[in-house]
Subunit: 345 residues, 4 copies
């Protein structure tokens, strides 16, 4: 069975998923696309030589009986409406973050999905499919480091443009750690506090950079997460979990090692795209395989999207107040019980 | 366009390629299979739910007009005949090593291929598609370490079965270094000498283990290659190129790092399958893409298969004589000029 | 010229310094010892076969004209009186931390020393003499990472005894980071806040473990320092400075690397003594050489002892309140201007 | 007891030992010096403000009753005569390599020493005192890697002057590996073969560079040793021992790690002096302590000097013939039985 995708939003990430499904992965096919910029949609069909219908809008695309899965890669504020419509039409959804821009919006999706009686939605948090994070998760779940007590994470970009403002450190950057870290330690967040260190001279006026987030979980795990988006030297993701019996952390991204000019050195990525390229492939292939074989996706759920939204709200509030802000989630429905895992990994 | 594959040989590696083409990669489809063990061929069709014809033998499979590419994953001694027949029928061939068991056999394929007027054959040397080797090649080609002077390579397996005899250290193990190293340094081999260190107590009677090969190239590069197939500790591939201006080597295979019980440690692979899993995927996807877009494969050629055969013969002779044995290649036909590269990498 | 030492306090650290001066370093000699436990003093003379007078108390030892330097390695609360008496007698002092148990006590020593018109006192903060910290300092001072913005430090011990209580995480453990970090970045501390993560099951009742300190400097550098004294796996000191142009951090303590049983591993120290053994030697040799050649020690000063005391007080208060506590230093006297450095390093 | 040293040869290495004994170590004192260049001897006394007699020649210095130990740091060809005279006078000797320039010369010293009835001579092979080599030795002796089968060693210098000729790769450079490797594996050498890879463009006319030595031991261990003295990038010493149960190798020389400009890097030494600076200190302090406490040195013996001479001769012959040359030692006298170790390490 070939899974037929309709893509809503043919910007950069939308095209990447189209390319991936068309030219790298197995079992999927793009049959429909749409974009608020119709020219973009048409160009995409040409560029990838797709045998796909160009629809005028998301609702028309969703209505196409040929479409099994709606890929939501439009502008963030548009996500909620598209996802809701797709879920109500009983379609599978692969939605890039954010699931919705508000916690309430996420809950509306959660409720719509529960009404359908099965999981339809996967949120595009690809780190859970990264080989390093999968190994971290396995080590923790097997008890290799005992009970986790602390986490230290780092999210550094070489630089960001002028449109990147302080809040985006949460909603665009930290959001990936927000999803990955509670999944890693099987716990929910309780509070967050933000400290702004001295600002780097390389940051634009409207962004505080770097930022340090201290997030506590219900069981008392304390997570220190650094977001530093003008670090100059490269794209660098670090994650270390300190437990009662030991510590485990991500390896460096593999690069050949050179001895030259008095230095032993290896390369650090400059472009974030390469860091999780494999994870994106694994993520979408797993999505296709799960839909085909299990009838539902098994990756990050709508509930994970809701957690991310609530937590991001608290983080943004904490950026403004400088105080410790609480993170309050509704009770998790049994529908979402079980830890989202990737059995095939 | 979907590339249609016929697979000759449905043993372990054959099934892996079938699985890969069917479930992981894009643009290929298995349409025919055969095996000297017809039950194996039939089971394979069932196991992967293929829509494929089971043929009684390779010639029948090759004769199927629906077959674009013949994948040769049968027993080594059978390769030559299948490849020759496929080439003469104008089909593309993806042949696992060896291309043929003799240098003469390889030359017969070379000639047959040249008669067809275009490259049809790719030999399954997957290391050229491994991210680490690709980075090594780029560093060398860009002149980052200057002129290469020495290479140090290590090929270690945790253990081998009783059927593994001394000669297999060349034809099954070293063969991958034989292909990769001349490609890395753009040079041809001139001679080889073998030294047998003290034998490990873990080696069976019929295998000398470890073995040290010293291979010289026409330009004077000296390569020390260790083959140690009962090293116990894991599967470990190392490759270091020492140049006039610096040294470059492969990174460790990435693994999370642990601090526990007084040790800072990371895992070493136990099973060779995982080491080059990505490389196999990239290799076959590149083969499909090249056939579709360029009309010919761009990976290791028949000529590379010939180089491997001549070099392996000299290495086996050197195992027996203990002397420095020369490696004499015929002049390279213009047909194979240019360095096989992977432009898409 | 041989520098003649009188040692006040012949416990573990006192004996180590005696052994070091007697058997490893050059230019020093132990001529007098005392201890509240006179037997301990006598045994020490025997153990190291010293040609040294055993005095009944510190004042008698200080009065010995033969004594050039008073080494203060007694119980912490006794330090201030001994140091004051020695300074007032115009003797050089090498005092293990703390200089005094209160900020006021430190100031009294500062004043007494200024009255003598030259630096007489060095406080035993040995990290400034560790090769790794010296390299960090050089990298920062040369501008290799630009303006420091953040520091991340880790101080982990495998375990501590039942006498180790929460406050000791500051006065016994963090105290070394307190001295080293302001020296590294040439800045003064402004505030500190403490968070207690979930407590490890290996910690005794009276100690909160681990603890996370967030310390801010006047220029806005934010330092996250983890103290974890029952981490089980080893003695582990980490220090990383994140700057505008790059990051620099300590190397792992060197250990041979092993490939065995599926692991690539190197050893982590179990005993803190080995971590800074070289630094202790360099520290005392530098003290001897500075006294001889420059007439005054050039290591951590009384003022550094005062900074440590004020900062430790604030850290202990922060442990109790959970709030951000300010760190207020008096204005630095010109007498202590200049950054304490180790020119010979 | 203070050990009184007379130094024969006040060139660079002689002065370093004088400085070390005078200003860094404990228990030794320079009481006499001599040099064929009397001005050099006099300047040395002034430079280090020694209370030492300047003698016209080695025999006069040896005759001084005040001299306990003769340090031989003169020109290599002069070593034998001085060592013999000192031994015959019953003095201890610390002799930098070579012990003598011929195997016969070494044997004459061995015989003279045996006649004195106790070990008097230590040869200055400092690697045995390097922390990394000591750890390697411990790991091997404890059986952590099982029976050693192969060794891989690398000795690289950034560059050498025009006076450095091919033979010096053995007598000046490889000589340290010659001593260290048989000590590491508790075995004697049997044969050596040399291969010259393509010569680096940075090498002067009179030196073949790099060179690869394959040395076999009596038990069949095969050692590949690379000497590359114009490697440009730094001073780099590597040593890896591959055993039946695992592999162990030296750590990199510790250096702070930097993330900057897209590179993760650490420094490589440029100057060999820093690599073994600690080892030199430990070596001489151990010599002093052994002489005082045990009445004889416990480091590399005259017999080790003889092994080095015989092996170096074979290596130089192998450079010329390109053939496998045998290394034949006389039977080891019981006098030298026991493995020279450093108990205090």
């Amino acid at each position: 069975m070939t899974v037929k995708f309709g893509v809503v939003g043919t910007g950069a990430i939308g095209r990447e998923h189209i390319n991936r499904i068309t030219n790298s992965l197995s079992g999927g096919k793009i049959v429909a696309v749409t974009d608020v910029n119709q020219d973009s949609a048409k160009q995409t069909v040409e560029q990838y030589q797709l045998d796909a219908v160009v629809y005028p809008n998301d609702l028309a695309l969703i209505a196409d009986e040929n479409v099994d899965v709606v890929v939501v890669t439009s502008w963030g504020p548009a996500h909620e409406a598209t996802v809701l419509a797709a879920v109500e039409a009983g379609k599978y959804v692969f939605c890039e973050k954010p699931l919705a821009t508000t916690a309430e919006g996420c809950l509306r999706i959660v409720e719509a999905e529960m009404k359908q009686g099965k999981k339809l939605v996967q949120v595009g948090f690809m780190r859970r499919y990264d080989s390093g994070y999968v190994q971290l998760k396995e080590a923790i779940d097997k008890g290799e480091i005992g009970q986790p007590l602390m986490v230290r994470a780092v999210h550094r970009n070489p630089e960001v443009g002028e449109s990147y403002v302080t809040e985006m450190a949460v909603v665009d950057t930290l959001i990936h750690e927000i999803d990955a870290l509670h999944w890693l330690v099987n716990d929910d967040y309780k509070s967050v506090q933000v400290v702004f260190p001295r600002k780097t001279k390389y940051a634009h006026d409207k962004v505080q950079d770097p930022q340090l987030f201290t997030i506590e979980t219900n069981s008392g795990i304390v997570m220190n997460v650094e977001v530093f988006v003008n670090c100059k030297y490269g794209y660098d993701i670090q994650c270390e979990v300190i437990g009662e019996d030991g510590v485990v952390y991500l390896p460096e991204f593999p690069s050949v090692v050179t001895r030259k000019n008095g230095k032993l050195s290896s390369g650090i990525l400059q472009d974030w795209k390469y860091r999780f390229m494999d994870a994106y492939d694994v993520e979408i292939q797993d999505f296709i395989d799960s839909v085909v074989k299990k009838g539902e996706p098994q990756g990050p759920t709508s509930w994970d999207g809701y957690i991310a939204a609530v937590t991001a709200d608290a983080c943004v509030k904490a950026q403004k107040t400088g105080e410790k802000e609480s993170i309050s989630l509704q009770e998790k429905p049994a529908f979402y019980s079980g830890n989202a895992v990737c059995e095939t990994l």
